[in-house]
């Protein structure tokens, strides 16, 4: 587990570097456009990956069987037993198709999880605007019934504390409500029992990467929150999260960017499919 | 497929002789009549490819 987590955090560091290069071009384009471009590229990438990680021959056979049975239903439509048998075979083959898709899915899942983590930095949330408020949640390590350490958020020009710290011993969490003061990529500094702990804070009104959570060393968190250095297992702080507002995607009318990503990448993939000769 | 109108008396006469003349249907009868006439009138389909089309027929060289 530890090894894997370390590997992921190392991959994240690489990803951060690569995506850092994209910083300029991404911020120039409007969010919906860059998301569309990214989706299109992703769609093609997924398609290519799918082609080389799946058993194309088997998928081709299964698809042929499905089509043959569909046509059989049409050609022999007056023969009800044939129609029913064909239908059963189609269902069976559709299931087989799913099975054959498992392998490429398993292969794809790791790189794309990391990639989605990176994209999430850009599209999941928008930065705080000046004067906007947000909740900061600090998760402390579970150390039995010990009382919570004394924690404070050091004053800075980046944000003002409106409420807090509020200490919730039952969850070993500490909350602040902060109000953003000026634009920029800031760092919040917390004093936790003699130790200083940092968390990025993004304030601005354009497209910029927003790291919602500085995670601990848990696989899932590392995948979802790649931007900041994870807390060590021995650290008394396990994660710090800022409740940024969601970014709204223009195209789909939904506030879930991943739906846009999904729809556009699928669309592109299906458009490109015949040219790349991929059987799905 | 375009349809052609035929006087119903003519059609009845056609029908009554179709089978006697050895046709399987009135349509075949009418088609044959038309083909025969067209053959007289139409320019031949000047097709060099005739030879090509026969190539490979096992019975002939």
């Amino acid at each position: 587990m530890g090894m894997l987590a370390r590997l992921i955090s190392w991959l994240n560091a690489v990803g951060n570097g690569l995506f850092g290069l994209l910083n300029k071009p991404m911020t120039v384009l409007p969010a919906w456009l860059s998301l569309t471009l990214v989706s299109a590229v992703l769609g093609v990438l997924m398609l290519i990956l799918f082609k080389y990680t799946s058993n194309q021959a088997a998928i081709g056979r299964v698809r042929d069987a499905i089509k043959a049975n569909l046509l059989a239903m049409k050609l022999f439509k007056d023969n009800i037993p044939v129609v029913l048998k064909s239908q059963a075979k189609i269902l069976l083959n559709a299931f087989l198709l799913l099975v054959f898709s498992l392998q490429p899915m398993l292969v794809m899942i790791i790189p794309f999880s990391l990639l989605l983590g990176q994209l999430g930095l850009w599209y999941q949330s928008r930065p705080l605007e000046v004067d906007e408020q947000a909740v900061v949640t600090m998760q402390l390590a579970d150390s039995g019934t010990n009382p919570l350490p004394s924690v404070s958020l050091l004053p800075s020009g980046a944000a003002r504390v409106v409420v807090g710290p509020i200490r919730v011993p039952s969850k070993r969490q500490i909350y602040w409500q902060i109000q953003a003061r000026e634009n920029g990529e800031h760092t919040l500094i917390f004093q936790v029992a003699g130790e200083q702990v940092r968390k990025e804070l993004a304030v601005g009104d354009g497209l910029m990467p927003v790291s919602m959570t500085r995670p601990g060393l848990s696989i899932m968190d590392l995948v979802l929150h790649p931007a900041e250095k994870p807390f060590d297992e021995s650290s008394s702080v396990q994660s710090i999260r800022i409740g940024y507002p969601d970014r709204r995607a223009k195209f789909t009318g939904t506030d879930i960017w991943i739906v846009t990503l999904f729809v556009i990448s699928m669309l592109i993939a299906f458009l490109v499919k015949p040219f790349l000769n991929v059987k799905i | 497929m375009p349809k052609i109108k035929i006087d119903s008396n003519l059609y009845d006469r056609l029908k009554s002789v179709t089978e006697v003349a050895g046709y399987s249907s009135v349509e075949e009868f009418v088609t044959h009549m038309i083909e025969k006439e067209l053959e007289q009138i139409e320019a031949p389909d000047d097709d060099k490819a005739v030879e090509e089309r026969l190539r490979g027929l096992g019975y002939i060289e």
């Binding site: 909740v135 949640t137 409106v162 409420v163 807090g164 509020i166 200490r167 919730v168 909350y175 602040w176 | -």
Partner: protein, 675 residues
Amino acid sequence: MNKDKKNQIPRRSFIQGAGLTLAGVSAGLCSVPESVFAGSKPSARHPKVIVIGFDGMDPFLTEKMMDTGQLPTFASLRKSNGYRRLGTSNPPQSPVAWANFINGAGPGTHGIFDFIHRDPARQCAPFFSAAETVEGEGSIGFGEHQIQLNFWPFNHSPTQTLLRREGTPFWNYLDAAGIPSAFYDLPSNYPPSKSQHGHHRCLSGMGTPDLLGTYGTYQHYAEDGPVRTKEEPGGMRSMLFFENETAPAKLIGPMDSFLKEPVPITIDFQVHRDLDAKAAVIELQEHTVLLKEGDWSPWLQIDFPLSMPGPDKHLSGICRFYLQEVAPNFRLYVTPINVDPSNPATPITEPEDFSKELASRLGLFYTTGFQEDHKALSNKVFNEAEFAAQAQIVLDERMNLLNDALENYDDGLLFFYFSSTDLQSHMFWWDSDQDHPARPKEQAQQYFEHIKDIYRTADGIVSNMIKDYGDTARILVMSDHGFANFRRQFNLNTWLRDNGYLGPADATSIMTDVDWSQTRAYGLGINGLYLNLQGREKYGIVAPEEKDALMDELVEKLEAVRDGDGSVVIKKVRRSDKTYKGPHTAMAPDLIIGYKRGYRGAWTTCLGDMDKTVFSDNDSAWGADHCGDSTEVPGILFSNKPIAKEDPALIDLAPTILAQFGLDKPETMTGKNIF
């Protein structure tokens, strides 16, 4: 959702409702929506008419304040002959008064005579006069679920609320003439009236229910609350039990109407407190809210999933949390769960998307008919200051809404309603040197000062309006009635019993232990008196030929009633057959009791209960009212054009507005143009 509001109201919720409706009555008169551009914009330009309704704004206080220079804008309008006291309805209750305004004619045309009517076929079964809920039919059950077959091809009607107001509202004439009109919070207009031609839009006001189908049910959580959730009029209380500074709680939502035996949908949430920081964290669905003691949260959208046999259906509600105290007694107040204007579970605007449009520009806001939580004050969940603070939130939201209404207003009619002058007056009014029955004198004076502040605010609103639109628009400022102290209550049914009109002599309620064969008259509602008439009431005993004599006798005796100190109690008793004209008088009481200022029908008598004594002090926080004789509580009317009519009344406003747009007065209207 409105499942519990049936034609026949269960007694318990009826009393609750009655209280609310009382509040509504008073609130109602103030609200006059503004006309905004409606629907498709007609190419032609129209005159501009802006009507501001300050519910319950009282002429006597207004005049006094104008005289002392506290209301400069109003005073200047008065100077240019733009002020009159405005005749109200008879009785001066909100549903009646606003229906008069809407129809431009008296109750005989709209059929609303009191906030409560009774069904004589069932003797005296009471029901709400303004709206009724009709049970749906044609549903199908799946296990414990049921589904309403209100779609093609069944098209059974679902449970729905119908507006009982009869007659034609005046905006229909505007709508037909292509003149845009917009009404914000107009009372007595829920469900929101439909626009036939698309030029009318409205946000429904007083009478709009919350998501639970009530007129507003707050939820209160405290360490000293009841172990099992306890209902009280207008609210519910629960206990919080903190373990390791965290307490679980349940938010009670609307009924799950997809169950055969509906139970409320509840949403679990958690409250964490930090005694040192004097603050708390509330985690509810995806919300994490941090509150210091005394903080209000923003509006939170709560998702209530209905249990369907198929995919879940969801109702969206909104509420705000208010952290009253962290220690020693942790107390947390939650507003009634309002219909979410951005995703309304039931239409609260015409057209339906109007509320979404508003929410997209303004964010979330109160949508229930009664926004100031007077019940929280009455039930001592709020103290006076808290109530005033909450009322201020409402006022601020409405000011915001008014600004938006004006920004989106081009021409036609704009009606805008303020409830602050009414509901706060019910709680804080005290224009007398006499002792307040419920609070010390200085305090009563101090709160009355707060009412005056609101009047000054109203002056400011009108001042801005005159500045921006004085030259281009006809501006009318009106109230539906005035205000008066409510110091003493008079129990009509006790009086009838004690004077031998109602038996037996030890009866306690006309709903339970009355003997109809000994009863010739009974009271119901705030101002109504009914004869127990043969052929009309189920157990009627008064022969039609005795009717006239009996009524005259009752009028004479009632007008002669004196309080212990010799004060006149009832100014006038009116015979309805001589008061109301029109096609819809069937539900009218036989006599309407017109109380003097300072008096009102007792809380108990409204639903037919009797007290030991005829008179008693009103010890409720609800210390002022306006349900006396119509001549005792006139409203106000200001205009930026000199008013010609000497004694304008509510019914004159509709014809006046129509005339501003060059429309003739319809035959059904009895009011007259005031200019």
